[in-house]
């Protein structure tokens, strides 16, 4: 039986100047910035859920994790980020967003976000680069600022494809989740701000707890799949992000580790962190995860954050901090009839994610956040090379992209877009194709099969996050079969259509990830990118970035799309030898030419 969605009519075509895909932290700031600099600029935000509570920030947050506290500079922030990622970051991207972190924080304060202050009236510091906030309502506050900007917001608008003509982005195609109707939006420039990707690997807990994940289970890597189909490049997918989180709830641990400085203990009650040797003396985030998993492997788990001995008032403050970000943590304490001050909080590694806000996987962009396709930009968790950007860094990237797009595209007369009709036809054919398929397997079945393949062969949690060549090749064979199953998935309602596209997008992103994993024959970051057959770093790959892009194949059939890998060598803008904690003199800050000169394919 077919629903009305089968009979969808030819897409209506709308016009705008700046088209923003994804109404999260990055997308909202990109829209607001364009409107404040150019009040006549037409801005449209397409969001698959509702900007009020969509994306990573749905439940709120309790800290701003990228902020330059007194004494810190953009350059010192860069050095801190480089240490965390074995020097493998894009200096130009990190520096340019770091310069805007405090401006973004002040904007959030101006939008009404409550930020705690110390006795001197300064924002209250939590960790080196973080401050404490009451951020339960951060997303509704951002949504209100977006509305006040006058940008047009379309909620429940699921974007499936970019439309590219003549090597330049021309717009995007979406369908409405209520009606199933497709609409094409023609634009002068387009921003991908769809976040990162969860659901590539098997979740730690399955069944009714399958979405008890840290990263948003609704960010499916769609922007990356669209970008690949359109011919843009993705970088560093092999540099996954694996979070050390509260076991079972996957609640972030910084609230406890930084908030009350709790020690990490193993099952014997011993603080195990000093028992390991770290590359730079002090452990990085990845090394803390590695040490914890080593303890588990040695049978000394479960590891925990030792909160015992806190006062009941401190326990209540912790509970309040979690209610503002991950309320199930407080529910879990109640359910287990425990309180943090009486029982240590168990921690473990999460399923791996691909996310540019924490790690380095994502779109390959220049310093203005423009991709390799003219007029197509990226910002936030969707952009690679600049880890640890979090909320404020994501917003900064949205602002940077909007400013460049305004200067180069948005004020021009609309381009003629030769080939628009054919490009739209092709996108529409691909996007509605599942409506013609008969119901067979469900999206969830194919998604779970993908997750099992990645879990067992491509460095899932059960294998200690490590992998080897034979596993990657086996995963590639399985994925080729699964892509056929993905191509055969059918949908009868708009919601099912969204689910089918999410699974197909995850399959494509996973295929690209495997290409990256196969190509990087070294181990560079503990567990994030760690192989059993090449266990050491290869100095020859220092500064080598692996990128994938589409080589050939039909863009309207994912299973036929072929990917190629590129090695891009990127010189450091601030060489390691000068890696001091001092501010970088103006003339050493990376200029556009220095960056361009650094690229070689």
């Amino acid at each position: 039986m077919r629903s009305a969605v089968e009979n969808v009519s030819y897409p209506e075509v709308l016009e705008t100047d700046w088209l923003v895909i994804g109404g999260g932290a990055a997308g909202i700031m990109a829209a607001v910035r364009a409107r404040e600099l150019a009040p006549t600029c037409r801005v449209m935000v397409l969001e698959k859920a509702n900007v009020t509570r969509s994306g990573c920030l749905a439940a709120g947050i309790n800290a701003i994790n990228a902020y330059l506290n007194p004494g810190e500079t953009a350059a010192s922030f860069l050095q801190y980020v480089k240490k965390e990622f074995a020097q493998q970051v894009r200096d130009d991207l990190v520096l340019s967003l770091a310069e805007r972190l405090n401006e973004m924080t002040d904007r959030l304060a101006a939008w009404g976000l409550p930020i705690y202050r110390d006795e001197q009236g300064r924002y209250r510091q939590r960790g080196r680069a973080s401050i404490q906030i009451n951020g339960e309502a951060i997303k509704p506050l951002m949504a209100a600022a977006l509305e006040a900007s006058g940008a047009e917001v379309r909620n429940h608008a699921v974007v499936t494809d970019l439309i590219v003509t003549d090597g330049r982005v021309a717009g995007a195609l979406y369908f409405d989740l209520h009606t199933g109707q497709f609409t094409a939006v023609r634009a002068k420039a387009v921003l991908i701000a769809t976040g990162g990707a969860s659901g590539i690997y098997q979740p730690n807990t399955g069944g009714a707890a399958r979405h008890k994940q840290w990263y948003s289970p609704f960010n499916a890597g769609s922007g990356w799949a669209m970008a690949l189909r359109a011919g843009a490049e993705l970088t560093s997918l092999e540099m996954r992000f694996i979070a050390l989180r509260v076991a079972h709830t996957m609640a972030p641990t910084g609230t406890i580790a930084q908030g009350v400085k709790a020690k990490q203990i193993n099952g014997d009650g011993v603080n195990y962190v000093p028992n390991y040797a770290y590359a730079q003396g002090k452990p990085t985030t990845a090394e803390l995860l590695w040490a914890t998993m080593e303890e588990e492997k040695a049978g000394r788990g479960p590891c925990a954050l030792d909160t015992r001995g806190l006062t009941p008032e401190q326990g209540d403050l912790l509970a309040q901090a979690y209610l503002c970000m991950c309320p199930t943590q407080v529910l879990q304490w109640a359910d287990a009839e425990q309180r943090p001050e009486t029982a240590a909080v168990p921690i473990t590694g999460s399923e791996p994610y691909l996310v540019g806000g924490h790690g380095t996987a994502g779109l390959w962009v220049d310093v203005h956040r423009q991709t390799t396709i003219a007029g197509l930009y990226g910002a936030g968790d969707a952009v690679g090379g600049a880890p640890k950007k979090y909320v404020t860094g994501s917003m900064a990237e949205g602002a940077i992209a909007a400013e460049h797009a305004l200067d180069h595209f948005l004020r021009e007369a609309a381009a003629p877009h030769p080939g628009w009709t054919e490009a739209l036809e092709q996108a529409w054919r691909r996007a509605r194709q599942p409506l013609n398929n008969d119901a067979g397997a469900t999206a969830r079945q194919v998604e779970e099969a993908l997750q099992a393949v990645m879990e067992y062969h491509a460095g899932g949690r059960s294998g200690g996050y490590r992998y080897e060549q034979s596993g990657i090749e086996r995963a590639q064979q399985s994925l080729a079969q699964l892509s056929k199953a993905g191509a055969a998935l059918g949908a009868t309602t708009p919601y099912e259509l969204m689910r089918v596209h999410e699974v197909r997008d995850r399959l494509l992103v996973a295929a690209a990830l495997l290409v990256h994993q196969s190509h990087r024959r070294e181990s560079r970051l503990p567990l994030y990118q760690s192989r059993t057959d090449y266990p050491a770093p290869d100095p020859q790959l220092d500064r080598t970035w692996l990128n994938t892009r589409r080589s050939h194949g039909r863009a309207d059939a994912d299973e036929e799309l072929k990917l190629e890998i590129l090695e891009r060598v990127w010189e450091e803008a601030v060489p390691r030898e000068q890696a001091s904690e001092e501010p970088v003199p103006e003339e050493q800050a990376p200029g556009e030419s220095a960056v361009r000169g650094g690229i070689s394919a």
Partner: protein, 99 residues
């Protein structure tokens, strides 16, 4: 099943369900009886966005057996500028927070 829907309380918001509007996963939908239902209960992220906007406190969170299952529940509602949280454990003991 982590989102609990109280069928006595849900009145469907006159056909414009507030909870369904804000769910980041588009999981909620009005059923035939004019009451809210989840399309896929296992897909809930437990973000509590729907819980917070329900004008009738018809929604609450609980823990599935995989990670709990002792029947504790969590409610939240916005009163003025503050969020009022109520957590009831398996023994029926209540804890309130106003943040």
């Amino acid at each position: 099943m982590t989102l609990c829907i109280d069928r006595e309380r849900c009145q469907g918001c006159n056909g414009h369900p507030r909870c369904a509007d804000v769910c980041p996963g588009n999981l909620l939908v009005l059923g035939e009886q004019g009451q809210i239902a989840s399309r896929e209960p296992d897909d809930c992220w437990d973000c509590a966005a729907c819980v917070k906007v329900c004008p009738r406190q018809a929604l609450s969170l609980t823990l599935p057996p995989e990670v709990g299952g002792r029947g504790s529940r969590l409610w939240a509602r916005q009163v003025g500028g503050k969020m009022h949280w109520t957590i009831v454990d398996g023994q029926g003991r209540t804890k309130n927070f106003v943040i």
